[in-house]
Amino acid sequence: MTATVFTHVSKSFGQVRAVDDLSLTLHPGETVALLGPNGAGKSTTLDLLLGLRTPDSGTVEVFGTTPRRAIAEGRVGAVLQSGGLMEEVTVRELVRLACDLHPRAHPVAEVMAAAGLESVADRKVDKLSGGQEQRVRFALATAGASDLLILDEPTTGMDVSARQAFWEAMRGQVKQGRTVLFATHYLEEADAVADRVLVLQGGRLVADGTAAEIKARAGVRRIVFDLDTPPEESALRALPRVTDVEITGRTVRIRSTDADATVHAVYAAGLYPRHLEVAGLGLEQAFLAITESSEKEKEVAAR
């Protein structure tokens, strides 16, 4: 059984195609990060997954049924950025409500503890800080044994330690076999937490793989070394697979699409590199490389 299947889903708002012929499948037990620049269609994708919006064309299936049905069965929990909280009630009252409404609810005390809310249990919801509010949302999403958790920028407004605590709690959820899909702006979160990364741009899926694969897909690796004698740039540029060369003093920085071949050629050319380092791009740079190149492709196609 698949957790979620999008089949050729499109959704427009007026002239804007927020989601454009999107097809993807989420498998049970996966932790998936959804990345993309602002306006890439992340929120709309999550809305469609949760049945808050209906696609113009295509189908969205959650655990083999409609999103609405899956939610009614208690299989899906979600934290939305746009989701507000009920006012004039205490944190405990609100969490109790969420537990009461969930068909497979956990005990209230357990949910409160997992979300780290005991210290503010009797505080009014409208008197919470941004980070505390976010923890309440998390508690609402985890009020019961949902199989799929959807989190839209879950750590926004949290400080570093709260963020770490949040992901700690999240790992607990994953260990229980949940499928987790989260949209985020923090690429290091995607790198550290997700075992699969989806990159959306212009409502289309431009990359889908592990963080390592995404980095590799960006193609380039960085080679850095020092030379005893000031190197000649044209010679370095002539090496195989080199896409860019940068020389500062005696330090050479090369970008290559095949680091092995390039490094081999460096030695073959009779050079003697010192302090040789070969590194992949960070996810952030890879992400930028992918979104930029897909932007360029689009421009070329438009011409």
Binding site: V76, G77, L80, G83, G84, L85, M86, E93, A98, D100
Partner: protein
């Protein structure tokens, strides 16, 4: 579902300012309207103000609050739970009914204790019951308005709805002074049948079946519309 209704009622009770004005407004209006009136008209206005007060409280309370909750995204969050649309509407109607009951009681108390209205015990109970039960219809209308309007427009829309309905329903001027054609229209709008229930009881008769039918139909239409819009609510991202 019961937890939601309980929580909604609790929220209304905690909102003391709203409670205070909603409960006092109809009884004050009743005292003002009957100040220079003949004693024979007082029972008519008493029943009319029970209806008007209850209507005001439930319409204003629900519509504005719901529009704001939509604006803040609470309804969106709630839609991610297993709660069915009717559960939401029922909870909101229950919360509104918590406000309308004391406002009706207070008008009746003022009528009996201050204005010297005399009725049989069953009539007091009957007026209370019909005024209260009828207010559910307007509570449902309030939920529907909360969905049609935005946070900014909910209050004016609700005001227009309740002033218009109250005026056409003969809650401020005696219904008998209406021309015939207006009476025909009023009988098909919800406020007149609503007030007529209590007035029938007050004059010693049973409520008219036609009035009950009109109200039930309106109640069902308003509630169904509200429940449908809760599920749909695509206007607000």
């Amino acid at each position: 579902m019961r937890t939601l209704a309980r929580l909604e009622i609790l929220r209304v009770l905690r909102n003391r300012k709203f409670m205070f004005f909603s409960v006092l407004y109809p009884v004050l209006l009743f005292m003002i309207l009957t100040a220079g009136q003949k004693a024979a008209m007082v029972p008519y206005y008493m029943v009319a103000m029970c209806a008007f007060g209850a209507m005001t409280a439930v319409l204003m309370g629900n519509s504005e609050r719901i529009a704001r909750e939509r604006d803040k995204g609470w309804v969106r969050q709630l839609r991610l739970t297993a709660l069915p649309g009717r559960g939401y509407v029922l909870a909101k109607v229950a919360a509104a009914a918590t406000v309308s009951l004391p406002s009706i009681l207070l008008v009746l108390l003022a009528g009996g204790a201050v204005k010297g209205v005399r009725m049989a015990a069953w009539q007091w109970a009957g007026v209370l019951l019909t005024s209260w039960a009828g207010s559910f219809v307007f509570a449902a209308l309030g939920v529907a308005i909360g969905y049609v309007a935005s946070a900014e427009t909910a209050r004016p829309v609700a005001m227009i709805a309740y002033f218009g309905l109250a005026l056409l329903g003969g809650l401020w001027v005696p219904f008998d002074s209406f021309p015939g054609w207006l009476r025909d229209i009023a009988n098909l709008l919800p406020a007149r049948p609503y007030a007529a229930l209590g007035q029938a009881v007050e004059s010693g008769r049973a409520p008219h079946a036609g009035d009950v039918a009109v109200l039930v139909v309106y109640g069902l239409v308003f509630a169904a519309t509200a429940a449908w819009m809760y599920r749909k609510d695509t206007a607000k991202a």
